[in-house]
Subunit: 321 residues, 3 copies
Amino acid sequence: MSATELQLTPNGRLRHFLDIEGLSRELLTEILDTAESFTSVTDRSIKKVPILRGKTVANLFFEASTRTRSTFELAAQRLSADILSLDINTSATVKGESLLDTLRNLEAMQIDMFVIRHRDSGSAHFFAQHVGPGVSVLNAGDGQHAHPTQAMLDMFTIRRYKQDFTRLRVAIVGDILHSRVARSQIHALNILLTGEVRVIAPPTLLPKQAESLGVRVFHDLDEGLEDVDVVIMLRLQKERMTGALLPSESEYYRLYGLTAERLKRARPDAIVMHPGPANRGIEIESSVMDGPQSVILSQVTYGIAVRMAVMSMIAQPQEEA
Amino acid sequence: MSATELQLTPNGRLRHFLDIEGLSRELLTEILDTAESFTSVTDRSIKKVPILRGKTVANLFFEASTRTRSTFELAAQRLSADILSLDINTSATVKGESLLDTLRNLEAMQIDMFVIRHRDSGSAHFFAQHVGPGVSVLNAGDGQHAHPTQAMLDMFTIRRYKQDFTRLRVAIVGDILHSRVARSQIHALNILLTGEVRVIAPPTLLPKQAESLGVRVFHDLDEGLEDVDVVIMLRLQKERMTGALLPSESEYYRLYGLTAERLKRARPDAIVMHPGPANRGIEIESSVMDGPQSVILSQVTYGIAVRMAVMSMIAQPQEEA
Amino acid sequence: MSATELQLTPNGRLRHFLDIEGLSRELLTEILDTAESFTSVTDRSIKKVPILRGKTVANLFFEASTRTRSTFELAAQRLSADILSLDINTSATVKGESLLDTLRNLEAMQIDMFVIRHRDSGSAHFFAQHVGPGVSVLNAGDGQHAHPTQAMLDMFTIRRYKQDFTRLRVAIVGDILHSRVARSQIHALNILLTGEVRVIAPPTLLPKQAESLGVRVFHDLDEGLEDVDVVIMLRLQKERMTGALLPSESEYYRLYGLTAERLKRARPDAIVMHPGPANRGIEIESSVMDGPQSVILSQVTYGIAVRMAVMSMIAQPQEEA
């Protein structure tokens, strides 16, 4: 079953959240609108609503994470859920249990939602295929495949700063090839945006036939930044350096690092985004990261509201069922 | 003081839960009946009751665990307790504090219940001897001695599938010698069951004079499975292989692995149980584990209700005191 | 900005809690009085008040800790806060993010209070300088600088057992030089006490010109204990042994270990304190630690009430703002 079929109920409501690909503009907009309503919850003094009261959310992070894990945990707490956080390295898998057995056992504990991050592409999809009715899976990053809540918080950030998605030029800069964030952003932008989605990267860090993703490809940063409204910098995975893919950190910075000087190519009101954690002085100049055009910390804040939105939308059809 | 005296109040109510041995049939039945009432809590949409609201449960796992630790945590959450989970390896004992000092310090934090798993037999008993009035200890597995909540969830599972304990034949298969689970199951079955408790194992994995435990001993699996109503498989601790106790994994599987073929010796409506995590293809064939007679995942589910039952029964006499 | 200016609002209310130095006698007394009111909360059956409901407290422990971390967590739970506990070693800093970036990201998650322990002196101060309005920082121990909640729970313990701080003689024994606990205790005692603060240590474990701290210095234990009302033993960091600072554990015990015999030099109703975890047989004899004059476990209990007091006082001006 495709992710699209898998993640929707027969009447088109959200059942899992695995991948942006195949979702409708209406559904993505509903996520953004629902998140908007939750920003008022997280802004106010008592940041708590009872939407998930008596439900259990299990956080399964097979890969380390601070930002994503913490914001999922805070989102669940602010919806009043009970939370089970499992440190996977020191538990079941030590005793040699398979992923499916781990899942089956957790499901038997009457978990309502699984938030899963795993180094294997397709792992969240795999979980979703095997859970029973009434149980939902949220993909918090699977291999190089997808990171849909990250993409939605990025869309939320763009809409907040640019009002809507009409006639925007958005450039994604960096290691497109290995980035689940980029892949999910491109899908979301293609669904929501009228305008142009650009990717800027050396040929070694681009998927083959990148144009088929619906993006315009640039190898030159200056050229690609020309007149854009939004610049999304990707984190450079330093481990790529050891391979033949990249020359050196300083060479990368010279060619693809976003400096204040270079940012002038973009529109004067362009915003700068980054999924974090950023490497200062490698893919982005410190002054840009801390500068007036940076909205990087807003992304973190909005991440909680967006994750609350997805969780509450997923809880709804379960309630109706 | 014996565990029996230690774990009951003067008027016979549960004060700690350390060991099945010495408890009455009435008390075990009350645990099962109370657990029955909690299954409706965990089945419903809002899985929460306020029985332990404002109480603090400390989870002290000196040994790694997913299943037991998670179900204790969920049980406490669903009873609305506050939970303190201590990763013991990275905390006090690092600084060289003794177990008793650790206990004394935690007790000074006004913890109401300790859930303790420790590699030393008698550790829960030791804790119970030293805590003050109003503080309770739940044994989540001590060395090779006892694992009483596991045994009670197993009894709950048997009663659920077999209606009552009358004239049942139950076989426990595997490493009886080193298993705290088997020890507690045998005690519980001897208290509740009319019928026959069998243990099936090679002589090297049986305690001396095993018959004195009140069981019938078999060394041959086929023979031991004949006409049983319940088959309980134990996890094979692979580290036993390195000693002289066991020849090899494949040899063990050939002699004591539960296959579909062998299961035919049991009654057609026999159920198959396992405390988990199971080694597929070592003590149990995959098709049996996932087959129609397996109730292994139900055991996990019932584990939450049974732990809620024990915690709430323990909380009661404290309230009355 | 000095810690004093930093940790108070313009109208003199507590905004952060970084250091005892520079705080007024009135404010310290208010903390003690507020803690007094919370002891009744933690004594009663339902240990919970809604003062921090809907607020998020983040526990950032860059150094291992059981006692301090657990009591901060319990204090926050009993005030009904949501809690985010970050295991810093396995998270952001792994990916090479700076302390300031970690702070900025956590702040973007709308954390209301940070509890921070860090091996660097000044780290809590650094955090407090950089957080935005409405966010507070509680120092849970920074390097060799300060541990103000520990000092306040010690003051609370002294007041509980000695009624007030009038004409008391208090001796602090051990490694004054490297102890953030001693430093904060000395500040607190100098603010609250009329009487005499003594420090007892070998010259190698004393800061230069220790007298300038407002204490009377003794190198001889027997002499220093003469007629004191309160003896505070410090934990001996065994790693000091490897340097030239200390001869050996047994030599240290012979010279500075508190034995029952030596304790007789103090007043008959003197109390013995220790911040824990104690090294029995190194800085303190077991029989003294468990004896009638020891109030060491009361310190742990009072630690929760004192931390609840500080958190609730800090939450107040935020509400009023």
